[in-house]
């Protein structure tokens, strides 16, 4: 266990409480609470540990981004970066009544292998079932994908959406975040947004993140303008030399 300003790093097996106040990421051994993960200690009503790296655990109602892998008659198989794949049934692809005829050929043209979709987990039994029936579900076109550890998704969004709003305003991008840690970015300065997401992934445990990200964006935008003007000037000069 190591204490720094505002946060405590714990390794697996570290004693974090002498009572049974076990929250997420902890376990109780002989009446005392220990950490399960290598991560950051979080104190509230219960003590929990947020791991630095974690695979996504599907939850019912989560909005996620996934990639279509293949079609296998009643369903499409979707990769959602979890240990097990998710399934999108033909009957869940649209809001039509269950008596309507489903145009399978057309759906296969829309949900081709390699296409990214934004959808919702509707059922969680032995299989993870997706649904495109919710109003904001869609097929994603023309954009780029970035990855982040699922436990850090709340930090990208910020308190009441403060971080994501700031990034969108300053860079002019449209950003969609899946709870499974996949982020879709389109329009505006995409490379800058990917740089910011990398920074959040590395430094999310250090306090004052939103301010530092704001500074980084301002700095990059200034440098970007300088580079742009330099690039524009160069060809003009060359022409003059000729």
């Amino acid at each position: 266990m190591e204490e720094k300003e505002g946060y405590v790093i714990v390794t697996p097996g570290t004693l974090i409480s002498t009572s049974e106040k076990s929250g997420e990421g902890t376990f109780v051994f002989s009446g005392k609470t220990h950490s399960k993960f290598f991560g950051i200690k979080k104190e509230g009503y219960k003590i929990s540990v947020v791991p630095f790296k974690q695979s996504y655990k599907p939850k019912r109602g989560d909005k996620i981004i996934g990639q279509i892998k293949e079609f296998n008659y009643p369903f499409f198989i979707v990769d959602i970066q979890a240990p097990l794949p998710a399934y999108l049934y033909l009957s869940n692809t649209s809001n039509l009544s269950k008596y309507a005829t489903i145009d399978q050929e057309k759906l296969m043209r829309i949900y081709r292998p390699g296409v990214w979709i934004y959808s919702e987990i509707s059922e969680l039994t032995d299989k993870v079932k997706l649904s495109m029936k919710s109003y904001d579900a869609k097929v994603l076109k023309e954009g780029r994908i970035a990855y982040i550890t699922p436990s850090k998704v709340p930090r990208v969004i910020g308190k009441g959406g403060s971080m994501i709003k700031m990034i969108q305003n300053k860079t002019g991008c449209t950003i969609l975040i899946g709870q499974n840690g996949i982020i879709w970015i389109s329009g505006g300065k995409i490379n800058l947004v990917i740089k910011i997401i990398q920074k959040i992934d590395d430094e999310s445990h250090i306090p004052g993140l939103t301010d530092r990200v704001g500074e980084l964006i301002d700095e990059e935008l200034k440098n970007g303008d300088k580079n742009k003007s330099a690039v524009q000037e160069e060809p003009v000069n060359k022409k003059l030399e000729i």
Binding site: I9, P12, G13, F27, H34, K36, F52, K53, E203
Partner: protein
């Protein structure tokens, strides 16, 4: 035969209850979920962890817990004579022994119907390779974010020309009388691996176990330290 212990010091100048130099590093591979390298003197092991992922072949899948696949291999350049690459009778045995160690440490019930792969490669062999492989693997598992009871620490103890020593190395391994590798879980005070070749008296075995546990606690502290250093270096 040369004298293995002179004036209380061993061939390489160590005391009887002293470990070789410890060094470890985390996050070597980008493709693997977690990875680590562990040095104990001249013995070096690299461990990589993949998963949790879908279990193939499907017949090995368990409904209520994850399945472990453990591969221990000595690379062909790790020994002074070229080692035939691939799996052998020895590596299969050590893989299955190490698998039983980690089955007791990882919370397998958190990931039903999945598989976790642990690969351990020995880059350089200078006695107690299985201990170093276990140390590297437990660091890689922690880095991969897999829930564990505690970090596993492992080292060997032995008997050389009549006296009990910690961390057998080099000539002591081939010419000594007893070699006893142990893997130890400090939280529950359990011994997860215990193998021995040679002959010992009962009270000597008890003393050797105490000595081994003492060495494991030193290794445990060094593992913890390297994990904390990895994060505080701004990674």
């Amino acid at each position: 035969m040369t004298e293995l212990i002179k004036n209380g010091l061993r061939i390489d100048g160590r005391k009887i209850d002293e470990l070789r130099e410890l060094k470890s590093e985390i996050d070597l591979s980008k493709e693997a979920t977690g990875s680590a390298i562990f040095h104990l003197g001249d013995t070096v092991a690299v461990a990589t962890v993949y998963g949790p992922m879908e279990c193939h072949p499907r017949r090995l899948e368990e409904n209520d817990r994850a399945v472990l696949e453990v591969n221990y291999t000595m690379l062909s350049f790790s020994t002074d004579e070229r080692n035939r690459p691939g799996f052998s009778r020895r590596s299969n045995e050590i893989s299955s022994v190490i698998k039983r160690v980690f089955e007791n440490v990882i919370f397998l019930k958190d990931f039903p119907k999945t598989k976790i792969i642990i690969n351990m490669d020995i880059l350089n062999a200078d006695a107690s390779t299985r201990c170093v492989a276990i140390n590297a693997a437990s660091l890689a598992l922690a880095h991969a974010g897999i829930p564990m009871k505690d970090l596993v620490a492992s080292c060997s103890a032995g008997k050389i020309s009549g006296s009990l020593v910690l961390d057998v190395a080099g000539k002591e391994d081939t010419e000594g009388e007893v070699d006893l590798p142990i893997a130890y879980l400090p939280l529950t005070d359990e011994i997860l691996l215990l193998q021995m070749d040679g002959i010992l008296k009962k009270d000597e075995l008890d003393k050797l176990l105490e000595l081994g546990k003492k060495g494991c606690k030193q290794i445990y502290e060094s593992q913890k330290k390297s994990l904390l250093e990895f994060k505080s270096s701004g990674q």
